[in-house]
Symmetry: C2
Subunit: 423 residues, 2 copies
């Protein structure tokens, strides 16, 4: 057992060393080369559709036998459409502007030196994810374009699928003359491998966990390097007393019902008392018609007598389901206080025609996305024009909100002189 643990440790360390060496080569790769690699990977993935489906069937078979639930099985399964979507995703990343090497305007200083900042890769990015094999291609593509090396650790249930995709990626990298080790998939399902990965900050610059809360909490607690993490989305829509009520109804209904299981779905609706009756008499039947269970404060139950009562716990809850908490508030201040107290700093929207209230909401609500007169469901990388996202960060440090290519980079200072010394 001890020997085996040492093997895992040595294997992960070797993976880290290879990634670090590959990262140096990736950092200097030019845009054309990186794009050629992305195109090649896309082509190879399409060419090997049959082999990918076969590898995936092995995983699906094992998972079915071991009783994986239907939702997980659905996420695990590859189809021809999903394989084409992977290839399309890689080609879209090839179209994105390359952030690497961009220099901010150089400013001359009194000493005579010129100072600017150059955008550079972070180095080695570790990605730990569950089920969906498409993450292997999506994440590798973004890391590749941003000049980073990647170590991928997928779920054990998707091992064969991930390895088959990884082979396509490595072959594509080779075709373009880039180091195969720029994308490595960890080829063991031993959970000790994750622990080792999280304990080598010398080889891994940042960790991105993609999956359930349990995974993210484990990674955050154990990682010895920075983590781009995404926790809850307890998102609010606040309908102000100065709202356009038609917009308010439409936005609140869309924010809740367009999809129930996403992190940017509204979980809590706040309504100013001055417009509560008008708004709720319209929204109540609409939500009831969609099968959404409302849990409201006492005042709201006077308008909608059939709804459940909301507990304090309800206001903290990310339901990810057709359930909605509801509260009538007396002021913008009370709405902001409520959001700051119960929210998760993900995405919150105000519906108002009052410019001053909109500005206060934008400045004072401390969330990764703050919106005026729009559905919270817009909070994602594609809708924001990032092209793609590696995740949505609910942290304030480094990247906040949807994280695209730029979130996988850093800036270093560059100084250009002509012999200046300090006196």
């Amino acid at each position: 057992m001890e020997v085996f643990k040492l093997d895992i440790k040595e294997y992960i360390l070797e993976t880290g060393r290879r990634a670090r060496a590959a990262a140096r080569l990736m950092a200097r790769a030019d845009t054309d080369t990186k794009n050629r690699a992305l195109e090649a990977i896309a082509r190879i993935i399409l060419e090997r559709e049959e082999a990918l489906l076969e590898a995936n069937q092995l995983d699906v078979h094992t998972a079915t036998e071991s009783g994986l639930d239907m939702a997980m099985l659905d996420r695990l399964e590859l189809t021809s459409m999903r394989i084409h979507a992977m290839a399309d995703g890689l080609r879209q990343v090839a179209q994105l502007e390359d952030p690497i090497g961009k220099v901010t305007e150089l400013k001359a200083r009194p000493s005579g030196i010129k100072v600017g900042q150059m955008r550079v890769p972070l180095g080695v990015i570790g990605i730990i994810y569950e089920s969906r094999p498409n993450v292997t291609a999506d994440a590798a593509g973004l890391c590749l374009k941003s000049g980073n090396a990647t170590i991928l650790r997928g779920g054990s249930e998707a091992l064969h699928s991930n390895q088959a995709i990884a082979t396509c990626i490595r072959d594509g990298l080779k075709t373009a003359g880039l180091p195969e080790d720029a994308v490595q998939v960890i080829e063991t399902t031993d959970r000790a491998a994750v622990g080792e990965l999280l304990r080598m900050p010398e080889y891994v610059d940042v960790i991105v966990p993609r999956g359930g809360k349990g995974l993210i909490e484990r990674v955050s607690a154990e990682a010895r390097m920075p983590v781009i993490k995404h926790l809850d989305g307890v998102c609010h829509v606040y309908i102000d007393e100065h709202a356009n009520l038609d917009q308010a109804v439409s936005i609140a209904y869309n924010a809740k019902t367009q999809r129930y299981g996403t992190c940017n779905t509204m979980e809590s609706l706040l309504v100013h008392q001055a417009v509560a009756k008008d708004v709720l008499e319209q929204l109540g039947p609409m939500f009831a018609g969609a099968g959404v269970e409302i849990r409201g404060c006492e005042r709201s139950r006077k308008i909608l007598p059939d709804i459940m009562v909301a507990t304090d716990e309800d206001y903290y809850t990310e339901y990810l389901a057709p359930i909605l908490s509801l509260k009538i508030v007396d002021s913008l201040d009370e709405a902001i206080d409520h959001i700051e107290t119960y929210g998760s700093h993900h995405t919150d929207s105000i519906v108002t025609e009052d410019e001053a209230n909109a500005q206060r909401f934008l400045r004072e609500v401390d969330s990764s996305s703050v919106m005026v007169n729009a559905s919270t469901r817009f909070a994602d990388g594609y809708e924001y024009g990032l092209g793609a996202e590696i995740g949505i960060s609910t942290d304030k440090f480094h990247a906040r909100g949807p994280v695209g290519l730029e979130g996988l980079t850093s800036q270093k200072y560059i100084v250009i002189g002509d012999g200046q010394i300090r006196t």
Copy 2:
């Protein structure tokens, strides 16, 4: 003892709760109000010069009795000049542009929403530092201007000085109508207080340790929130075969001898073999004249027979002293490899007239500051035009290199719609 520990824990938690509440008020404070607070603090510090000197004498007296070394005593001591420098520093921060509330250009998306990013404070910044009482005013000023609340934990040897300065700060905040709790100094010397501070990510958004390596390593290991940390400065100057040799000699001499104890001092000199004889025959006597001990590779000892031999360990060492490691290399590649292997990713400079070599060095050397034809000693916030710095980050995540006001902020996404819903 157990009861006392609970007291410390409760005291630090209460400090955190107050800081979080103050942070919300600071985030919405306008620029004028923040500047009035900075000016008021500066004025009060000057008015209370005598009281500050008295409080400091208590600390100096105790420190002398307990046998603190001379360098530490020097850092601890306040003088009239140092008090005036503190006040000047605060006034300079008042002159800096306020980063908070700035919005990037809003971009219209196909859905009709407009998307931009707004610069916002990080929230609560914890600063843990040693000896120098001026850090209390400097750090508080930068955090205040960037709209953050601050919890300061100074060294136990400076407790009275720090409390006296903290009183000036709180009185200044009150004068300007800002919450006094926006700057809190921890009023216990119990080391358990630091542990508690590092364990409450719900109240502290980022920790900045300022002090020796031991402090920074302890904070990095224990902190449950991000750390802006500054480790070693093993800085290099590489003299390329295409260098202007007069510039090369002048830059190398300045980078080593202008100050020995700073993190941006050159610790290691790399010289291309084609120019080694010319350069070293000039630099050898100059360094000898300045009392700098050189430890070089075998080849360099053929040119400078009197120097010591460098071990592998020497090339990893931040001497902070009149000692220099020296190596002759055969190529730019070897220089870059050496820097990546032995350096600490702080500041490295190439001396060359060759544009292609300069560009490769800028792109491929993975350090927080990379320079062409300038002394490494320029790597600091004042020289770069940041106005002031809270520290120099040797990390790549979030802030890299000298950290000014912007490094104490984050960006959130803002979305402006006119009723858009997602379809």
